[in-house]
Amino acid sequence: MNFKRDDLTKYGLVAILVIAAAVPVLSDSMFLINLLVLMLISIIFASAWNLLAFSGQGSLGHAAFFGIGAYASTMIAVQSGISPFITIFLGAAVAAFIGVLIGLTCVRLKEWFLAMVTFGFAIIVQTLTVSVLAPITGGWDGIASPRLLSPSIPGYQLIEYYAVLIITIASLVAIWYIMKSRIGLAFLAIRENEVEARSAGVDPVRYRLFAFAISAYLAGVAGAIQIHHIGYLTPELYGVDNSFWPITFVILGGLGTLAGPVIGTIVLTVIWEGLKATGLTFGRYVIVGFILILTIIFLPKGLVNLPERIQVWWKGRGRNETGAKPQRE
């Protein structure tokens, strides 16, 4: 029986979805629910970064958009009293707007320059937050952020979990739609060969900006949800760490695929939490570093490519035994 990779991905995602929806029924551990909420947020964040990378732009400063979404959403919620469920999307729009601005400086730049500019941008935003904007952002101390739901509501954690799950699924569907549409094709064309894409009538600047806007928007959504979930925000959101996590998730799962960020985030979160039990602190990061490097060298297409690799290996093994060419479907 032959699975096509697309089918496998689709069934895999649906299976993950069913499990995700069923978890609260199976377990009433609040620790687990909390962990899953943070994991879903990471999935949105990693998918957002992945979409930008899909268009050939590797950002090293996505924490900037994550943080801007969080700060903007909190500010709007505090000032106007609107429910955080709505301000999440307003704050993310601010992140998208700034994403377009930074995208404008980046669209004509090559990989390294773009990486540099985005990395520097996160530092600039952090500096602004703790200096000029300190009166409204609270500087290094941060400020309290309204919770998504008041803890007085019975079962608020479950409601929050399902709400975040729905937002995650909606984000993934949106990204899937973009990747499969003409826009996704245009992203691919630009990534592979910009000159050829241009000669085929694809305007790279427009598409890259679009990728920046959507990616920054989703990163902003992720940041806003996380901050309303935790209830507190500090400028450490803009830290290098926060920029590197989505990259690690995506590389491990599979760059430029829909399922990659999801699988990468789940696998790495499990490893990360598992290592917590061993009592390692810095060692955990060292292990993540090794995982990242080994993945890049030995499994450049990530974990989503693993079934295919095994299949090829399996077929190759068959050929050696019988001396015949492996049968193609």
Binding site: G58, F113, G120, I123, I124, T248, I291, L292
Partner: protein, 293 residues
């Protein structure tokens, strides 16, 4: 009026001194980029390792920290060669993004590995010449600053002669000009890759030693910001251009110290990136770069 001039000169000196560390880092990056055409975002981690090696030897033996510069450079040649062989060579030519991602893995490993060995607290070392100042014109300059500038100049001259006069240096230049051509005339480019990477790391180690002996604090996470500034410098100065790296490093040192004085210390890091972004918007190939790579 005299006051303003004094402050101006003071800032220039700080800039010159900060610039020295950036120049060494940026020159190392340029050397690696020139030969291998890769960009190692983890370059600052080699500065950090150099700093810790210097501090550890100094704490253990108490010998003059300026002498340790040779040891830390030698150690980093070895570490650099291992990193090149195990990490960068397997992915050479598989795409620019892969190099960036691999560097992130290296950053994780080096920073947290160092934190496991040495702890993550801020530390500092007292230079034997601490407190000694030399009068230069109207202001007094710490002797350490002058030694650091002299060391940087000496290292750059040594590098210049190595590249111009020795066979290996010429092979490195040939490889950087045309890799295939270098292979055709019988140069072992993989050997040249390892040497360049090791030398680049050694320059970072020298920067780390100078960082430590000047009395600046250091911790395992210190390397990222100077490394990214070194990137900004080689982009300003043109990729692969060593004179560009020197001029860019000095400009960066002076610019950020002026900003720290005028706007407050918090702006020190951000201002270099603002300069970088402005330059890239106006001139995407860098200030002195002939063409972007």
């Amino acid at each position: 009026m005299m006051d303003n001039l004094g402050i101006f000169l003071q800032i220039m000196f700080w800039g010159l001194y900060a610039g020295c560390i950036y120049i060494l880092l940026a020159t190392g990056l340029n050397l690696i980029f020139g030969v291998m055409k890769i960009v190692n975002f983890a370059h600052g981690e080699f500065l950090m390792i150099g700093a810790y090696i210097t501090a550890t030897i100094f704490f253990l033996t108490g010998i003059n920290p300026y002498v340790i510069i040779l040891l830390s450079m030698l150690a980093l040649i070895g570490i650099g060669a291992i990193v090149e062989r195990l990490c960068f060579r397997p992915i050479l030519g598989t795409g620019k993004l892969n190099e960036i991602f691999l560097s992130i893995g290296l950053i994780y490993i080096f920073q947290n590995g160092a934190a496991m060995i040495w702890g993550d607290a801020w530390q500092s070392v007292r230079s034997p010449y601490d407190g000694i100042t030399v009068p230069v014109g109207s202001l007094s300059v710490p002797l350490d600053y002058i030694i650091i500038v002299a060391f940087t100049a000496a290292i750059l001259f040594a590098l210049y002669f190595f590249l111009k006069k020795t066979t290996t240096g010429m092979e490195m230049r040939a490889t950087s000009q045309n890799r295939k051509g270098a292979m055709l005339v019988g140069i072992n480019v993989e050997r040249i890759d390892i040497i360049s990477f090791g030398l680049g790391c050694a320059l970072a180690a020298a920067a780390g030693t100078l960082w430590v002996v000047s009395g600046q604090v250091f911790n395992p996470y210190m390397g990222s910001i100077p490394a990214v500034k070194a990137f900004a410098i080689i982009i300003l100065g043109g990729l692969g251009s060593i004179p560009g790296a020197i001029i860019g490093g000095l400009l960066m040192g002076i610019a950020e110290n002026s900003a720290a004085y005028l706007l407050g210390g918090i702006w020190k890091d951000a201002v270099s990136f603002i300069i970088l972004i402005v330059v890239l918007v106006v001139r995407p190939t860098g200030l002195f770069g002939e063409k972007g790579e």
